[in-house]
């Protein structure tokens, strides 16, 4: 079995298993330049917030997969990803780190560590499990 880099809540079960290079998006400008680059479908999108609504244009333009560092599958972004059938893993944490997201009590370092570890990596999303979505290395 491939190396599981991170895991979180699986927003919906799907046999779709998109692969691509993780791209960390920190602002609406990042989303706009990604859309304008024409390379949206080469990337698995990584965002910090579970209500990161600036992702909506990316989803409607055909994003292939999403990873968030906070938020729940019942949130707006979860609802959107099910509508677009875009595989989505929420509140992902690194399997190699003890740091976990806690509502209202999460240090910036928690998010920075995930972004640092995943950004630029070639990964595949495994969203077949009922509960857990997995981000696996795809070298």
């Amino acid at each position: 079995m491939a190396d599981v880099l991170a895991e979180g809540y699986n927003v919906f079960d799907t046999s779709k298993s998109p692969s691509g290079t993780v791209k960390y998006l920190s602002s609406p400008a990042d989303v706009i330049s990604l859309i304008q680059s024409g390379k949206l479908q080469e990337h698995i999108l990584l965002v910090r917030g579970g209500t990161t609504t600036f992702l909506a244009p990316a989803l409607s333009m055909g994003a292939i997969g999403v990873i968030t560092m906070s938020g729940a599958p019942e949130s707006h972004l979860g609802i959107l990803s099910r509508e677009f059938q875009t595989p989505c893993v929420m509140t992902a944490h690194l399997t190699g780190s003890d740091s976990r997201y806690v509502v209202g009590a999460t240090s910036d370092e928690h998010f920075a560590e995930i972004a640092r570890e995943l950004d630029g990596k070639k990964v595949r999303l495994d969203c077949t499990d009922d509960e857990v979505g997995r981000i696996v290395a795809d070298d």
């Binding site: 919906f12 079960d13 602002s27 609406p28 400008a29 706009i32 859309i35 304008q36 579970g50 209500t51 609504t53 600036f54 909506a56 244009p57 989803l59 409607s60 938020g71 729940a72 599958p73 019942e74 949130s75 707006h76 979860g78 609802i79 959107l80 099910r82 509508e83 677009f84 509502v103 009922d130």
Partner: protein, 204 residues
């Protein structure tokens, strides 16, 4: 004084709520004349507050701070209205019920496992739709209170009513489709709009 006049505020607000919007849609949601929307988008684009890609306008990173600054001026009275404040407190409860209901529209519980709702059980779907309609109805007093301060909020009950009518006529994709003026989209925009109007952050 804010750098955004009220028409520019209303137009930019809709672009920021939708994250991507074309002039005709903005005209419908703001009640601003189509030609005036186009002129406003040109001004906003020159100020670096929106980027126009094809026929859609997207907000830049500067849009939210500009809106927040303008909202604190335009909505100072509204923020101080205790009646609105009380209605907003109730919204949070209704909102979490709404999110749960929306998820139950998309997924059903089968033996503890969530599976996609294939919408073959019309009795189940009708129950969810009726729950959604009740939740929308509960927004009435809040929307009326907001519209008392700024007429643009009247667009929400108008859009909800039109969408619910469409759903009742059998077009069930108007419940949650992200590409239609669905209940979920309208609700979500209202929530974001409310937070900005009141100068609050999401609790999540």
């Amino acid at each position: 004084m804010s750098d955004l006049d009220k028409v520019d505020y209303d137009v930019l607000n809709v672009v920021a709520l939708k994250k991507m919007a074309s002039a005709p849609t903005i005209a419908i949601d703001t009640g601003v004349d189509a030609a005036d929307v186009t002129a406003a988008l040109a001004r906003l684009s020159a100020q670096g507050l929106v980027v126009v890609v094809g026929d859609a306008a997207l907000p830049t990173d500067e849009a939210e701070p500009a809106l927040a600054a303008a909202a604190s001026e335009y909505y100072a009275d509204l923020r101080g209205d205790p009646e609105v404040g009380e209605l907003v407190e109730k919204f949070e409860t209704v909102n979490s019920q709404f999110l749960t209901t929306m998820s139950s529209w998309q997924q059903i519980d089968v033996g503890g496992r969530k599976v996609a709702n294939d919408h073959t059980d019309s009795e189940y779907d009708d129950k969810v739709i009726s729950r959604i309609e009740k939740l929308v109805a509960r927004l009435g007093p809040l929307l009326a209170g907001l519209a008392g301060h700024d007429g643009r909020f009247a667009a929400y009950p108008r859009r909800f009513a039109a969408t619910i009518e469409t759903i009742d006529a059998g077009q069930h994709d108007f419940v949650s489709s992200p590409t239609k003026d669905s209940v979920h989209n309208i609700w979500f925009e209202l929530h974001e709009d409310l937070l900005r109007t009141l100068g609050r952050e999401r609790t999540e």
